[in-house]
């Protein structure tokens, strides 16, 4: 098998911002002393006057972004998911969500794949927090292609958007020439009639690998990529409940409140079916190399395969 190209979606974020910045003068980027890590440093190099470093003060950064959006700018406020969704939750809710401001939040370093920094910096709760806020769109792209498309889509959407990016280099899986990103639309990456793996973000490529492993055991798994967790694509989920026997949701996020819960919300109300949630099981992460952590927490292909086999 040829070497698969890998790139971290935080890198895609930085690159996409530069492209957006070239096309639109009103795009400004905010950071909270993490420009080197969130990759907004790439934008800073291209547009130094339109990059605003707020210092280590994320709550204030969200307010400043709100003020910028009220005066004609399109701000992209950037920091780690822990601080964007966690520390500044109430600022995002009251100062961005409630007045429905055109603020984009670029949250990098989501999930346990942050790696060595450990539990304090591994945000497994951001999707849950952000999707409860009315007016908020929540996007969790799976690779470089999708991440760049998501940034563009976030710009085009009028209103608040939360984008979740990762630190770990992720395989590029959406590089076909006919790839199109549509906000709120799930993507069937692999047809299957036995079960459905519904994955988001970094877990999408692992889900595809797991489907290959399951195939060897005679299990025909459909794989759906949900890049937009809110608004979620109800139709693609309902269809999967009709056409396959069981759903497995897979996310690098707590099994409480994230993709799994969002899918269950749809299934419970509209098409009762059995759903098994694969994710971080109501626990904190820990230090270690990202891939080793993903293995330990059973969030790599092997871990997904194992959990599907045990719960099918």
């Amino acid at each position: 098998m040829s070497e698969v190209k890998k790139i971290a979606t935080r890198e895609s974020y930085g690159n996409a911002l530069v492209e957006l910045g070239k096309a639109h003068n009103e795009v400004v980027v905010l950071d909270a002393d993490l420009a080197a890590a969130t990759k907004t440093g790439i934008f800073k190099k291209a547009f130094p006057d339109r990059h605003i470093d707020c210092g280590i003060a994320e709550c204030n950064m969200m307010g400043i972004a709100a003020g910028l959006s009220l005066t004609g700018k399109v701000p992209f406020a950037s920091t780690f998911a822990m601080f964007a969704a966690g520390r500044a939750f109430e600022q995002v809710r009251n100062t961005i969500g409630y007045p429905k401001l055109n603020v984009k939040i670029g949250a990098t370093h989501a999930g346990i794949s942050v790696g060595e920094d450990g539990a304090t910096h591994q945000c497994n709760e951001d999707i849950a927090l952000m999707r409860t806020i009315p007016n908020m769109v929540v996007i969790n792209p799976s690779d470089d292609v999708e991440a760049r498309a998501a940034v563009q889509a976030a710009y085009e959407h009028k209103g608040p958007v939360y984008m979740r990016f990762g630190r770990l280099a992720a395989p590029v899986i959406n590089d076909s020439s006919d790839y199109q990103f549509e906000l709120g639309k799930g993507v069937t990456l692999r047809e299957g009639k036995d079960i459905t793996l519904i994955a988001t973000g970094l877990e999408v490529s692992f889900a595809l690998e797991a489907a290959e492993l399951l195939k060897k055991d005679g299990i025909d798994a459909r794989v759906i990529n949900i890049h937009t967790i809110k608004p979620i694509d109800e139709d693609i989920i309902i269809k999967a409940t009709m056409e396959t026997k069981k759903l497995f949701t897979i996310e690098e996020h707590s099994i409480i409140g994230g993709l799994g819960s969002a899918v269950c919300d749809v299934v419970c109300e509209k098409a009762p079916a059995s759903v098994y949630k694969i994710g971080v099981r109501d626990c904190f992460g820990e230090s270690g190399p990202a891939l080793e952590l993903l293995h330990k927490y059973e969030l790599d292909a092997e871990g997904i395969y194992k959990q599907v086999k045990e719960n099918i």
Binding site: G63, A66, G67, L68, P99
Partner: protein, 278 residues
């Protein structure tokens, strides 16, 4: 500035506050009344705003960081013509655009939703920064409570504003000395307030915030100050203008009953008659 005219307008604003809070049977009269003179000055003397064109991109902006004193802001906006003063009676009623705390989405003239303390100042700072980035000459004003500045975010915002030398920004602290649990000194003293803003690279001015001459002088000085933002520490009387509410922490968040409403309105009428004899 015609001081007598300002004083008369401020009385109308105060009547609007009492009318709204009485009709709502809840709300925050104390801090609305203490800042009534500042609201009046901002909307009738200082700020470049037009009730017929509330979304003008070159207008001055106001963010009410101490959002619970929305009745004061609403009464000033109504008096300025953004909406009918009669609507003050719908304050906090189901379906009214006059929400308990300002909601910019449905209220003409409200530049930002606010109410969760400590957050409005950051938004004002963002607006001021935006003006600098776009080379626009609008000015931005934000009103904070003296209890509100116990919130750490206020100082994050102040640090940034000083760092960026936002001389198009004026932060006003309504220093009425009272918060819900008592005097600000008893609860968690924010004093010395001016020195704190000075340390964050602000020009500071301390005034009697219920005296139009001093208010006028302060805002003119702020306008003339270049290279740094200005903080106006306005010493005020909580409940100002209503005899039984003055300097009473208990009137921070309570509404007058029918009898108290009559007394309050009589107080304000009497003050108005006194002004007419001047």
């Amino acid at each position: 500035m015609d001081i007598l005219d300002m004083q008369k307008k401020a009385l109308e604003v105060r009547k609007g506050i009492i009318t709204g809070v009485h009709s709502a049977k809840s709300g925050h009269p104390g801090g609305s009344l203490s800042a009534a003179d500042i609201y009046t000055y901002l909307y009738f003397e200082e700020m470049n705003v037009d009730a017929k064109n509330p979304e003008d991109e070159n207008r001055d902006r106001f963010v009410l960081s101490k959002g619970h004193t929305a009745p004061g802001l609403y009464a000033a906006l109504a008096l300025k013509g953004f909406f009918p003063m009669e609507d003050m009676k719908t304050l906090r009623h189901v379906g009214s655009y006059l929400q308990g705390h300002p909601d910019k989405k449905g209220t003409p003239g409200v530049d930002m939703s606010s109410g969760s303390l400590g957050q409005g100042i950051s938004v004002a700072v963002g607006m001021a920064l935006s003006g600098k980035l776009s080379d626009k000459d609008y000015r931005v004003y934000t009103l904070l409570g003296d209890g509100e500045i116990q919130e750490g975010q206020v100082w994050e915002a102040a640090m940034f504003a000083g760092h960026r030398k936002l001389d198009n920004l004026v932060v006003i602290v309504d220093n009425n000395n009272l918060q819900i649990d008592g005097t600000v000194e008893e609860v968690c003293s924010p004093y010395p307030i001016a020195d704190k803003f000075k340390a964050f690279q602000f020009h500071t001015i301390e005034i009697d915030g219920n005296d139009f001459e001093e208010i006028d002088k302060a805002f003119k000085e702020a306008r003339a100050t270049k290279g740094m933002p200005t903080a106006i520490i306005a010493r005020t009387v909580k409940g100002k203008g209503v005899s039984f509410m003055e300097n009473q922490a208990s009137w921070h968040g309570a509404a007058p009953n029918d009898e108290q409403f009559e007394i309050a309105m009589k107080d304000l009428e009497k003050a108005g008659e006194a002004l007419c004899q001047k």
